[in-house]
């Protein structure tokens, strides 16, 4: 698992990468009450706002961590946004991306580096 400074986790699954937010981020956001998911089969660029998460406190954006194509989204979040809090690194995933080259993930933090960040 890799981590971004924006508190997203990235997990390689075959030739795809699954994206979600970390437990730390979910705790900071508070109870998630709404998730706006991106369209599938769309090309996105690194830094694009692809999801909106609304918690009881505020709205936050999820940014595309890298360039690529959104090939799947977690439709369960539409009816059960609380999955983001209950299981942020499992059932609470947001979307899956197809990348040209998975080696771009090397730039991101590993578990230890991320733990240091949130220390």
């Amino acid at each position: 698992m890799k981590y971004t400074k924006e508190h997203e986790w990235l997990r390689v699954e075959g030739d795809l990468v699954v994206v979600g937010i970390t437990e730390h981020a979910a705790t900071q956001l508070g109870d998630v009450v709404f998730v706006e998911l991106p369209e599938t089969d769309t090309m996105v660029a690194e830094g694009d706002e692809v999801c909106v998460i609304e918690s009881v406190k505020a709205a936050s954006d999820i940014l595309a961590p890298v360039d690529g194509e959104i090939v799947a989204v977690n439709q369960k979040l539409a009816d059960a946004p609380a999955l983001v809090n209950e299981d942020p690194t499992g059932a609470g995933w947001f979307f899956k991306m197809k990348l040209d080259d998975l080696s771009v993930l090397d730039q991101f933090m590993d578990e230890d580096e991320y733990q240091d960040l949130i220390g």
Binding site: F34, E36, V56, A78, P81
Partner: protein
């Protein structure tokens, strides 16, 4: 402890208790306050509606108004600042009030109590210095005495009566908006959640021990500012500085229920409060805009600042408070809408992230109130 502006934050008397309970402390109205505890806003909200929630609202301003002449003179002097019947308030009863300005806008909203020989007033934290100055300037001959050595706790929810009666058995006999004194503890049966409950003013020296005893009662949990906001939103209650301010009149704010007959046209003491010309005119002819309840379709919350449009695209208003209602289990909001569009059941459009989403004008409260009348 400094906030983002570098200004010193005031510490609540119960600061250590909040820290010990795992409260997440944030700056609010110049104070360091718990926005939530480890349970989080959603659970705290639902707990208050199903059991009992304890809130520290000691940041609010408590003030005693003491007459130099008769009590009736004091009541009439206070009436000169508000479109509210003070004279008719019986001893041991509390009432909602509003300070208005000459333009008919709202300077603050407040609760006041007739305590026989004086009035006891509770005002908003962010307004308290201005309110005190306003009362001193507006009521010559009245002694305006800020109460600075007392905490203010709120215990709210269906379990509040049993929990507080465990310490003060006499509270069980109180009804909504009653006020009673138990030694040096002052109790009102009121609150800001839509639930039955109490507000408890207690000398700071004994406040932490009392709060701990309340927390030890069955079903009582500490609740932060986050849930306080979602609870009051579901109850349709205004937050000063957001839903009401110096630009909104009490009539526009849909607070005409707070203006008793005695102060309206044809009443025994008609007018005679700041902004009476505008307020009486709006009572007679209707206001240009009205605060209404709003139910967004779907699950996306509409928060403060969301612009509202008629279905033909005409701008008609703005959301002043909004979010997710945990008990309603849906997004809810309130805002001001041009009168022609402020009809129950009307569909408007709220613009969220560039998209216009349907929203229905609805009655408030969103969640039925459970006051013990």
């Amino acid at each position: 402890m400094a906030d983002l502006d570098g200004a010193e934050l005031l510490l609540l008397g119960l600061d250590a208790l909040h820290e010990g309970l795992g409260g997440k402390m944030v700056p609010f109205a110049g104070y360091r306050m718990p926005v939530q505890y480890p349970d989080g806003v959603m659970k705290e909200h639902l707990h208050t509606r199903s059991a009992a929630g304890l809130f520290d609202v000691s940041h609010m301003g408590q003030v005693i108004l003491r007459p130099t002449g008769s009590m009736d003179e004091l009541k009439l002097a206070f009436e000169a600042l508000m479109p509210v019947d003070v004279l008719g308030l019986a001893e041991g009863r509390q009432r909602y009030g509003l300070f208005t300005n000459d333009a008919g806008g709202i300077l603050d909203d407040l609760m006041f109590t007739n305590r026989g020989h004086h009035l006891y007033v509770v005002v908003n934290a962010a307004c308290k210095a201005a309110d005190i100055a306003h009362m001193i300037a507006g009521m010559p001959g009245v002694s305006v005495e800020p109460v600075t050595d007392r905490a203010l706790l709120a215990l709210q929810g269906p379990g509040a009566e049993a929990a507080l009666a465990g310490l003060l058995p006499g509270v069980a006999a109180m009804r909504f908006m009653d006020h009673r004194v138990f030694g040096d503890i002052w109790v009102s049966r009121s609150g800001y959640t839509g639930e039955d409950g109490f507000e408890i003013s207690i000398p700071e020296a004994g406040a932490e021990a009392f709060a701990r005893k309340l927390l030890a009662q069955p079903g009582v949990a500490p609740i932060g500012l986050g849930a306080r906001d979602s609870l009051r939103l579901e109850a349709g209650l205004c937050l000063y500085g957001h839903d009401i301010d110096t630009t909104t009149s009490p009539v526009e704010a849909n607070l005409t229920w707070a203006i008793q007959k005695a102060r309206k046209a044809g009443g025994a003491r008609e007018g005679g409060f700041p902004g009476a010309a505008r307020i009486l005119k709006e009572l007679a002819e209707g206001p240009e805009r009205l605060r209404v309840g709003l139910r967004p379709e779907g699950r996306a919350p509409m928060r403060e600042g969301v612009e509202l449009f008629a279905e033909d695209g005409t701008p008609v208003g703005r959301v002043t408070s909004g979010g997710f209602g945990p008990s309603v289990n849906a997004p809810i909001a309130m805002g001001y809408v041009a009168r022609a569009h402020a009809m129950l059941g009307a569909t408007l459009l709220g613009e969220v992230r560039g998209k216009r989403m349907p929203v229905t004008v609805t009655e408030m409260p969103f969640q039925p109130t459970t006051y013990k009348r």
